[in-house]
Symmetry: C2
DNA sequence: TTGAAAGCGCTAACAT
DNA sequence: ATGTTAGCGCTTTCAA
């Protein structure tokens, strides 16, 4: 098959151990080192990672299991994880679980078979609820969505706070009938809803929520149905980018204006949110930080497995744009 | 460390060979088979893929090296590749080369070290131009962008045809000063430009082109500069989704209307293209097909390495939307 | 059908 | 500093 360490050793006239030392910067005399390097270059030798991993019991690999690669939030996070991983000399296996608990289980099994050093994971709420970290030989860092409290490391947005921020903003702009559209499959939707409810309650305003599957189509269907009812909201809080797009579709189709007929505020500063009308008001997540921090947590966990589990909570930033420009009158308190 | 085949064999009271046969559906008596399966379940045994790959010399893995994971075109293609790969019992290692020839070289080296069965690759034009497939032990299928003609399999869009389609459409809608904005790093931009030039020449119309780096920022900078010139086009053909977004930004900032001040036609039916004004006219690529066909080509190449190299050319579909609604008068021929 | 044993390519003791 | 050798966990002859 391909050229192996033995071939290099023979050409250089040294033992395989010496070649191995050269490759891993062990102590080798300058003379032998150059001879080996020449042999490597001449033969085009490339080490076999399967053999190396098997022997050294070091995978130098982390798994990243995301819910949906089509969601720009996760592609942004995965780039950050990749960058941080390569800086630390690690490789990343990117897996796309498609919001499907079966696929999540399949990939976790695969990670075990690959003997990865650790996994960064954004689980569905089904998997999050029953996740047993002790069943896996690698540490897991949850991102975006939390698992059972205290059982794994996690880095998440302050979701209740973000939900609250949007509602407070809408109230300040004069909106009073504020609906909420949330994803039904991740814990994120539930946490954002909690903040939404709390803020409304604090102002003595009623809430009105819908839960939908995490897809643009499901969201637009839900909003269409909502619009068919007699008394729809004058503003909508939407819990992620995919759903927000669905809401925009439904409103546009119905010939309604944003924010004239309905104000819209959501999550994720995706490219297109700046293009709808004069822009959509959103919570911008620190996507790159989320990825980098997750990787750092994983590395420090690998260095020190007995550390207490940590949860890092990051804050989103409110980007005020035209989709919530207000009802004319300023808000009473 | 973790439980291994020997542990399973001992618990089941059989040899490791028998366990291995059970795992790979070799011929084993029903009685032993159940005993082994029970032992596997009881111990939670998971095979070590590094060991398996080392011994069997079969990686069951393909590499997918894309230019930019943030580009929805590539995330869509990668999902298709993944689906097709899993159907064929293969895994996918997704690598993001970031339009950087150095990273491409690094990943190709990594693929060699992983001893992958094959690679699906969308190279920069730098790498495409000097690509030597015989230097790699695995077959390569190029996607989206071609390498040296006849040296590798490839699946690409009919780019000249697509460029032509857009220009013909604009001419039919009454536009005469049709500019072109193309990416300077992939062969795709050049091929689309060729079609653009050919169509204009055929109608005796002048061309006017700009080449830019493959980023939204570069595109908006270029368009801004263009608008500062005295005689800018009344319609623009833009060679991909990232650049198209940049063009939209520049026009919007300048307070210009689409298509009133400038018509816009581009590539890639990204979600947001439907949201700009009443929609952007674009060539929609058969993204899923591209991925599936690439995987199929790779599999058939693995089965039959001596096959002649093939190039599959797929057609894009013109989605006519409001951004090219016309200059009032119908077009003369 | 089953088991014993060799060996995939590499690293890491251990010896020199 | 360098070489010899055992063995990582598995698959695959080869015998029985």
């Amino acid at each position: 098959m391909s050229v192996k360490i033995k071939d290099v050793a023979e050409l250089a006239g040294v033992s395989v151990a010496t070649v191995s030392r050269v490759l891993s910067n062990g102590s080798v005399s300058a003379a032998l080192k150059t001879r080996v390097e020449e042999a490597v270059a001449q033969l085009g030798y490339r080490p076999n990672l399967s053999a190396r991993r098997l022997r050294s019991q070091l995978s130098q690999t982390v798994g990243l299991i995301v819910s949906d690669v089509r969601n720009p939030f996760f592609t942004a996070v995965s780039r950050a994880v990749e960058d941080a991983a390569y800086r630390a000399g690690m490789r990343v296996i990117l897996c796309n679980a498609d919001e499907d608990p079966d696929k999540e289980a399949m990939y976790l099994r695969l990670m075990q078979e690959e003997r990865v050093s650790g996994v960064i994971f954004s689980p569905t709420s089904v998997t999050a609820g029953r996740f047993r970290p002790e069943r896996f030989e690698f540490p897991v860092v949850m991102i975006d969505r939390e698992g059972p409290p205290g059982l794994t490391d996690a880095v998440v947005l302050d979701n209740p706070q973000a939900g609250r921020l949007l509602v407070e903003h809408l109230i300040a702009r004069g909106y009073r009938k504020i609906g909420g559209l949330f994803g039904n499959v991740s814990t994120t939707g539930a946490a954002r809803r909690a903040g939404y409810e709390a803020a409304l309650a604090q102002h003595g305003l009623p809430s009105s929520v819908r839960f939908v599957a995490p897809s643009t189509e499901a969201a637009s269907t839900a909003v269409r149905a909502w619009l068919a009812e007699p008394d729809w909201p004058d503003a909508l809080v939407v819990s992620n980018g995919l759903l927000l797009l669905g809401a925009v579709h439904a409103l546009t189709e119905a010939g309604l204006s944003i924010p004239g007929d309905m104000a819209l505020a959501g999550f994720d500063n995706d490219v297109w949110t700046g293009l709808v009308g004069h822009g959509l008001t959103v919570i911008e997540q620190p996507v790159y930080d989320i990825g980098v921090v997750a990787m750092e947590m994983l590395l420090s966990r690998l260095e020190n497995p007995s550390l207490a589990k940590r949860k890092v909570v990051l804050n989103g930033a409110l980007l005020e744009r035209a989709s919530t420009s207000g009802r004319g009158a300023a808000a009473p308190s």
